[in-house]
Symmetry: C2
Subunit: 216 residues, 2 copies
């Protein structure tokens, strides 16, 4: 699959997992793709914890379900109704979790940047690896869903992640029946797509109100 | 170009820019690819400032050269000698800077996560967009180099970026003569590649010493 096709077809998957477990050879290709990502200072400050034990998946799914309820309760009524049918994870259905972590100790060298220096570019490098994995998965017919609803402390305890290593993402990874043509959150009316024109500025940052005015 | 080929061929480019300016149609395809990245809550919290004014490029290049000197002076002698021949940017040679920013105000909804909640996943979303752009550029024969040596305050003033919007990256983007087969930082002996085996764990995070022991 071409780069552009993978970029266009990629979706954040929650509903379309077949229930089969991803093939081990495919899984290794995905991890190799992630590991080929750029990283600040060529540090590769990421780790990947592959979780396939059904008991661990079930424990994490139960935790996330609790977080989802907390979030739903925090919403105003109309937003809660919009949110209600939206599935937020496929932890058990996907059969595989890839937990991607960031180890700040690997990015030790100081750099010249205020506020968010090498440490921040280190964490951002981990996201570059995640996107590589995501696009490779799309080319393989494998779906990926990034779970955001969890407490870091819970996940660290669940997988024995050391205190000084940060869990960055739980990715649900598994074969899919297909990929939706429209993102779920657009489909269910949670948020319209922001057009590209609103995000592109020339030579300097335009007034933000102007930049946003084209939003749908 | 296939996804896997782009992932394998992609490099952080500093030396190989031809001096030509990227074609406008190609530039738009790259921005569209970035904008198709996943983002937390489908918020697309990024903006892209395209900088092609030679005077602005020169001002930023001069600032980065100063930061490079500060960094070099901070290194022990042997590391300083290793660092000396390494070019860290192609700001003027590439002809185009794409400054990618993060607007935390777009990621307003609270989420269930300790410590680094929605705000952090917002910033990480911006990195996903950067990797999309980088891989699309690779497929187009266009090089990308992420400049890390600068002060955020300087860049914000240079491009009139509002105080509450964060510059995340300056990307040098331009046609290249070719891409190196080995990352510059490996080629010049700055850092060896960390093997994948050291980064992959099964079911739980292994002892970190063990995970690192395979490092080259």
């Amino acid at each position: 699959m071409s780069v552009y096709e993978a970029i266009a077809r990629r979706r954040d998957v929650r509903n379309e997992f077949t229930g089969d477990v991803v093939d081990e050879e495919v899984l290794l290709r995905l991890l190799r793709a992630a590991h080929a990502a750029p990283s600040v200072g060529h540090t590769r400050p990421w780790d990947f914890v592959v979780v396939q034990d059904p008991a661990t998946l079930a424990r994490f799914a139960s935790h996330v379900a609790g977080c989802r309820e907390d979030f739903a309760r925090s919403l105003p009524r109309d937003r809660a109704e919009t949110f209600d049918p939206i599935v937020i994870d496929g932890i058990e259905q996907s059969g595989t979790g890839i937990v991607v972590t960031y180890d700040p100790a690997r990015v030790a060298a100081p750099m010249c940047s205020d506020g968010t220096p090498s440490n921040e570019t280190g964490r951002l490098s981990v996201a570059l690896a995640i996107e590589n994995l995501w696009l490779a998965a799309t080319a393989e017919g494998v779906g990926v869903g990034w779970v955001s609803f969890y407490h870091n402390d819970f996940l660290s305890r669940l997988l024995s992640i050391p205190d000084d290593v940060e869990p960055v993402a739980w990715l649900c990874v598994g074969p899919v029946t297909g990929l939706r043509s429209v993102p779920d959150l657009e489909h269910f009316g949670w948020r319209a797509g922001r057009p590209l024109d609103a995000a592109v500025h020339r030579e300097a940052y335009r007034d933000r109100d102007t930049a946003v005015s084209g939003e749908q």
